[in-house]
Amino acid sequence: MTPPALFLYGHTSTGKSLVLGSILKSSQVLHVIVNCVECYSQRFLFEHVLNAIRADGAAILDTSTLIKCDNMSDFVRLLQQEVVAKKLDMQTVYIVLDKAERLRDMEQNILPAFLRLQELTGLNLCTILVSEIVWEKYRFGTGFLEPLVIQFPDYSKDELVEIICHDRPEDYPEGFYNMYVNLVLNIFYYACRNLKELRHLVTLNFKTYVQPINSGEATMGDTKKLWKHIEPHLKKALCTLYLREVSSSQWERYQQEIETADNVGLQGLTHRSHVELPYYSKYLLIAAYLASYNPAKSDRKFFAKNSGKVNKKVQLNQAKKKDRTSNHMLGPKPFPLDRLLAIFYSIVEGRVAPTANIFMQITSLVSLHFLGHATGEDQIEQPKYKCLVSLDFIKAVSRTVNFEVTRYLYDFA
């Protein structure tokens, strides 16, 4: 008898699905693979398994023969029927649940029931869970059957090199490519051990690496020269690691641009977060930032007309301020709409009528996720907001309107 449940876990790209898939395929046993991300309802999960067993892998488009099933007991019953009808009771049927951690978010009974499916149906079944987190994190609720746990360890550096070397383009010798992969790994290994990401980087930068060879400046033996050539590129790539904002073809275009005119390509990468806003939106955003990061008590100090006289209390406060935590460490605080508008009117230049357009701007800032709605009891009478942009962003915005934002910030003033 096969064990009723298996649990495979390991980090991303450690070969779980690949190993499992090829074993199941090569041993030619009946199996169903379900990606749990797809199961937005339990019904989908049940029907997928049942229909896959009935169809045995072939595509069904005839909707009349599809099995309908929306609860666990039906599923157990129908599963028995199907397996018996197909005369599969002699061999083991494997149900593979990929991304099994999603099962925890579904109805309480699903995970225990799948673990005990062999017991419930009395069939020769095996449930295989594939996940990225450890089994201990699954233990809540009752009725679990402990599965057989198999861990997939991370690849070591040498293993990584060996795997990546399989991507070698055919016209380059193995030793040469091996060296190149080692170079890239030396730079990136401390920041990233994800095989997928590393493979992406290796293929991305290979063209730059061999460029001197293609142009005839160096031969394959000129390791030092090639290293000199590739090093700055890799350092730059380290800054945008994981971002994937550009495809490989666009990356190459950027590289070319950098070679022709040094600034153009760099601008494309460094000015990633630059956004052009309408004039009053800028001030609204600045006002929101100030309201979020200044305590409401300090508004009088920054914005009142007669802020000249400083009474003792304030001075005391300022003395105390040093031991208090910076507001920027604590994150943005919610503020009411009134306060936002009051600050807005005191910092904006010229007289601005409180028109419908101004209020519309606030809403559109929310929809752009520069501001966030803070949840409160009354959303209509006294809506509260939070400013969601960073200090650097607000500094850049205020520079465009010649407003010194740091002078008005409690943490810096």
Binding site: T12, N35, V37, E38, Y40, S41, F44, E47, H48, A59, I60, L61, T63, L66, K99, N194, K196, E197, R199, H200, Y242, L243, R244, E245, V246, S247, S248, S249, Q250, G268, R272, S273, H274, V275, E276, L277, P278, Y279, Y280, S281, D338, A342, A353, P354, T355, A356, N357, I358, M360, Q361, S364, S367, L368, H369, F370, D378, E381, Q382
Partner: protein
């Protein structure tokens, strides 16, 4: 089958006839022929403007769209349903990050254009998703599936037999909502068909070939607003099917690419192979619209200074939305044609003759009373004046001539204006502004010669070097090479360029001849004051002008004359009221409404809206004749953060009831009801709200008192 005749006792909803606004009901004196004529003219003119706008729009984004389409087309070149490439394990989903800018109102048109272009040129399988329809994975899948399967059935209706489409539509209804069913559908659809590429005729007659396996394009219009969880799951699911379905994603991003990373963790974003496209900023589009529609002689309708500035301000200060700008322009036109009874004369140049001919006596009288026309009559000779005021035929001829003059003025105005812009656009400090529209707005206001900034700019122009001047002149000439009416101006400019080139060869001979004239100027005896004056004059004269400086003065003088002749302020022209709309206040109230201040106005000064006799008081005064809400509002202004309801009601009663009738012991229920109603109205308007901090109190939501 007629469902209404069914025997079951169901409730049937019928789509009512769509009510269309009837123009006659809205126009005040629709019987009046002039009003009708104005309306027709408006429709005609707007039609012309609008077609131009649409042309501009499709041209504007064409560059970026072309690249994008190419990307979508080529992203799945090696795709096939048969042999799955086992070697290419690492498959990423091609995705486009289209950075569109923050002008969100414009985006729907932009994306509609994009989608229709995609359908036409790349693939029939395009779906567009909006965040408001996709709150969970199920809805996002159902949206995608229905749009893809249905649209394709509909699109192919003409080249497939009816049976085929019927089967397809039936299938889509009952299929489980997963991408796997889409993949199967796709396989059935495109694998069984003969592999010859399908030909599809687009509207403009071009033939685009769809590939045998067209990519499936999924456009997400407002990417920032999607729920992170939903997008993540959707992308994870999609990546499982990438070997069965040639998917391409297009993310519309309003802010910056970093929004993607806010939504997607590395686990998901590493599945994508992204390419970034930056749409040109909307300010450029606006400049295009203004240049092509407002600053051209083609469309007779023009905006006055204030209105032009207002529309620009709304754009630059509030929303960056060109769509709103165009709507505002449309509104302005409508306002102009409906408020100015003579505006039917504001038409294309070819129709002027007819329009004037049809003018009846009433309109003609109205025309004679236009301030600008009266001014013109006063300027005419005494012999003409009676004819202009009394003789119908004579006046009509003269009106035609005046309108022709205005038309000619416009045709000359804009080229010369751009000359001026070339000259002043790069001066230090930008005395007249950087943009062409700023210079234009200046010219609309006053005559250029009276403007201080222009004088300053002229002084600056007098200090430019030889090379700079030559550059400016060449630019002017290049800009207007093909304007026939300015030929003599251009030849003049070319002469100047020529002279600048040969300035070094000019011999300085004239100066000696001038020199002796100065000597005898000092008389023998003068007062101290006179002497000083004289000496000052002489020192000025003695500054020798080099030939280049002379030439420069000559050029500046030439330009000065040119501007004085052509860049006349339009408000100085006779009959300008017909072409220029200038009622800023009116427009501001409608386009840039301020609900808060009008609410406060209504509450503190009800006379302003009610126009009744009783309430015309000072602003802060109270009287019992005002509406209850106003009284309650004014009383609440005197309170602090929390208001005691009982005190408030007592104050209310003293205002409303004359003193002798007040009977404290017996509560007046009617008065209480009135008071409570007024308070709840204030609550509805957002001035107070109930509070739990203190019993029988309400909290104020506004600051300040009267």
């Amino acid at each position: 089958m007629n469902t209404a005749g069914s025997v079951s006792k169901g409730c049937f909803a019928f789509k009512g006839k769509k009510k269309q606004a009837n123009v006659d009901e809205y126009l005040p004196e629709s019987k009046n022929i002039a009003v009708k004529k104005c309306h027709q003219r408006f429709n005609q003119m707007w039609e012309e403007v609008y077609t131009q706008v649409q042309i501009l729009q499709s041209d504007f984004n064409s560059n970026i769209f072309d690249e994008l389409l190419k990307f979508a087309e080529n992203s799945h070149t090696g795709f096939s349903l048969e042999g799955r490439d086992t070697k290419k394990l690492l498959v990423e989903i091609p995705a486009v990050a289209l950075v569109t800018g923050v002008n969100t109102p414009d985006h729907s048109t932009m994306f509609a254009n994009l989608v229709s272009m995609l359908r036409e040129r790349v693939t029939p399988l395009v779906t567009i998703l909006k965040s408001k329809d996709c709150q969970n994975v199920k809805s996002i899948l159902s949206r995608t599936l229905t749009q893809l399967m249905d649209s394709h059935c509909v699109a192919d209706f003409d080249d497939e037999d009816e049976d085929g489409t019927a089967v397809n539509t039936v299938n889509t209804k009952s299929l489980p909502l997963t991408l796997s069913s889409l993949a199967k559908w796709y396989r059935n659809k495109f694998l069984d068909q003969p592999s010859s590429p399908k030909k599809r005729k687009s509207v403009d007659g071009k033939c685009f070939e769809h590939k045998a396996l067209p990519p499936v394009v999924i456009v997400m219009e407002d990417f920032e607003n999607f729920l992170p969880k939903v997008v993540q799951d959707f992308l994870l699911i999609s990546s499982n099917y990438i070997s069965h379905l040639p998917l391409v994603f297009i993310f519309g991003i309003a802010t910056s690419v970093s929004a993607i990373h806010r939504l997607l963790p590395n686990e998901v974003s590493s599945l994508l192979c992204m390419e970034k496209f930056q749409a040109p900023p909307s300010t450029e589009y606006l400049t295009l619209v203004i240049n092509q529609i407002l600053m051209t002689a083609r469309y007779p309708f023009k905006l006055g200074r204030g209105v032009f500035q207002l529309l620009l301000d709304i754009f630059l200060y509030y929303d960056f939305s060109v769509l709103n700008f165009i709507q505002a322009l449309r509104f302005t036109m409508l306002e102009h044609y409906s408020s100015q009874p003579l505006s039917y004369l504001c038409c294309n140049y070819d129709d002027v003759q007819d329009a004037v001919k049809q003018t009846d006596a009433d309109s003609l009288e109205r025309l004679r009373q236009l301030p600008s026309f009266m001014r013109y009559v006063e300027g005419c000779s005494t012999k003409e004046q009676p004819d202009l005021l009394l003789n119908e035929k004579f006046t009509k001829e003269r009106v035609v001539r005046l309108i022709e003059d205005i038309n000619e003025y416009h045709t000359n105005f804009f080229p010369i204006l751009s000359c001026l812009h070339v000259l002043v656009g790069k001066l230090p400090g930008y005395p007249l502004g950087k943009q062409l529209r700023e210079v234009y707005s200046l010219c609309l206001d006053v005559n250029l010669q009276e403007n201080e900034d222009f004088k300053h700019a002229r002084d600056l122009l007098r200090m430019l070097s030889k090379d700079e001047w030559k550059n400016l002149l060449v630019q002017c000439i290049e800009k207007h090479q093909n304007e026939s009416q300015l030929k003599d101006v251009m030849t003049e400019l070319e002469k100047f360029v020529n002279r600048i080139d040969h300035i070094d060869e000019v011999v300085e001979e004239e100066e000696e001849s001038e020199q002796p004239a100065n000597d005898d100027a000092l008389p023998y005896r003068t007062s101290l004051h006179q002497l000083r004056q004289k000496l000052q004059d002489m020192s000025k004269k003695q500054k020798k002008l080099s030939p280049y400086e002379k030439l420069r003065d000559e050029i500046v003088g030439f330009y000065d004359d040119l501007f004085a002749k052509h860049l006349v302020c339009p408000t100085k022209l006779p009959l300008h009221e017909i072409f220029y709309y200038n009622s800023t206040r009116h427009l501001k109230q409608r386009l840039n409404a301020s609900p808060r201040s009008s609410l406060q106005m209504a509450l503190s000064n009800p006379h302003y809206y009610l126009q009744c006799q009783c309430c015309s008081l000072e602003k802060s005064a109270l009287s019992g004749t005002m509406p209850d809400t106003c009284i309650v509002y004014k009383l609440h202004l005197e309170c602090g953060q929390l208001i005691n309801l009982y005190d408030w009601m007592q104050a209310f009663l003293t205002v409303v009831q004359p003193e002798e009738e007040v009977d404290v012991k017996e509560p007046n229920y009617k008065m209480q009801a009135r008071f409570i109603q007024a308070v709840s109205q204030l609550q509805f308007l957002g001035f107070v709200k109930p509070t739990k901090r203190k019993t029988d109190h309400v909290a104020r939501l506004t600051w300040g008192g009267c």
